[in-house]
Symmetry: C2
Subunit: 207 residues, 2 copies
């Protein structure tokens, strides 16, 4: 989960560890702030595996931005500026490698661990990196699980041996799952419309 989230964020742009925490919450919709005690070791591990690389320790490396068109003076100025604006020294900025991109997409499409709601949401949040086909597969797989789960919950809610509180939990959980299924259905509809639009465009020769 953490690996997928980190790689997913790095697909978009470079990040340093401290930043990843807030980004996971704000861009990937993961509720609880994950701890640095898990983020830093994860980054170190991903680096060892060659999936990411440290692009700059400290901000002395605006070289990465440098187009060469700027004079040394202006580059220094810009470095200073970057430090002032963007923050402090000692930051270790990571960039995803080609191998990292490959593994990321593989991981994102991997059917293995889509079981829980958290993993699924994360995958949808990163779904722009999936092919339309794989997106549909992901959504349909999850939908099947939810339909099954819904049936269990509705059965549970009908259980007369339960007290009002326990039954209320069942009923509410069922509503939540229904909401999830509706959401998936709207996403699936969108996917199919896009697919169709694309197909039509090909057929009619439009761009």
């Amino acid at each position: 989960m953490l690996d997928l989230a980190i790689l997913g964020l790095l697909m978009d742009r470079d990040h340093h560890g401290y930043e990843i925490r807030t980004q996971v919450r704000d861009r990937l919709g993961v509720t609880s702030n994950l701890s640095f005690g898990s983020i830093y070791p994860a980054l170190a591990r991903l680096e060892r595996q060659g999936l990411v690389e440290a692009v700059s320790v400290t901000d002395a490396a605006p070289m990465m931005i440098s187009t060469g068109s700027l004079s040394g003076e202006r580059a220094s100025l810009r470095a200073l500026r970057a430090t002032q604006v963007l923050g402090r020294r000692g930051r270790k900025v990571y960039r995803i490698s080609d191998e990292g991109r490959r593994v990321f997409v593989e991981l994102l499409a991997d059917p293995a661990t889509v079981d829980d709601s958290r993993n699924f949401s994360l995958r949808v949040a990163l779904a722009k990196y999936l092919t339309p086909t794989l997106r549909v597969t992901l959504l349909e797989r999850r939908r099947t699980d939810l339909v099954e789960r819904l049936a269990e919950l509705l059965a549970g809610a009908r259980n007369e041996q339960l007290d009002t509180y326990a039954r209320s939990v069942m009923t509410h959980a069922a509503k939540g799952v229904e909401l999830d299924i509706e959401w998936i259905d709207t996403l699936l509809t969108t996917e199919r419309n896009n697919q169709q639009t694309f197909t039509e465009q090909v057929k009619t020769g439009k761009e």
Copy 2:
């Protein structure tokens, strides 16, 4: 979490370990089946702590081995009978102790770990063991957290830098939280009505 669920189930009646798994799902609304690899060690630990006690290992099985009072024939018959009615041999049935009941209520009311949705749902499912006051406290505490979370999600959904998938995740998560808040509000209303009814009854001298 596991301890709370196990003790909660044992508040109602005795259970053996194997049975606890299904009961946690069917009566407490916990989605994923927890594994025996966590249930059995948990029961052993609770027993060591004196919160539960093993009430019977098998039904009548020890008789077959030790007792000389019954003839071998009758002992076999009895064993057979017990097996037919109660099920299989080798079951270790647990009962909650007085100390266990005390600790359970303490645990259930403990504000420490109500953070996530799973813990909260579990507590609501067991809410009949809480006093009306503690129930309201639990609900209100959770409500405050959710309102805060909702604001964050709505802010996230407004973030225009997000692609449609990521934004969709935020919006959907927000809807889920809204549903949760509505649920809590209906529960709170019920609590207050019951409370008021009780107060009125006292005032007017009704039973």
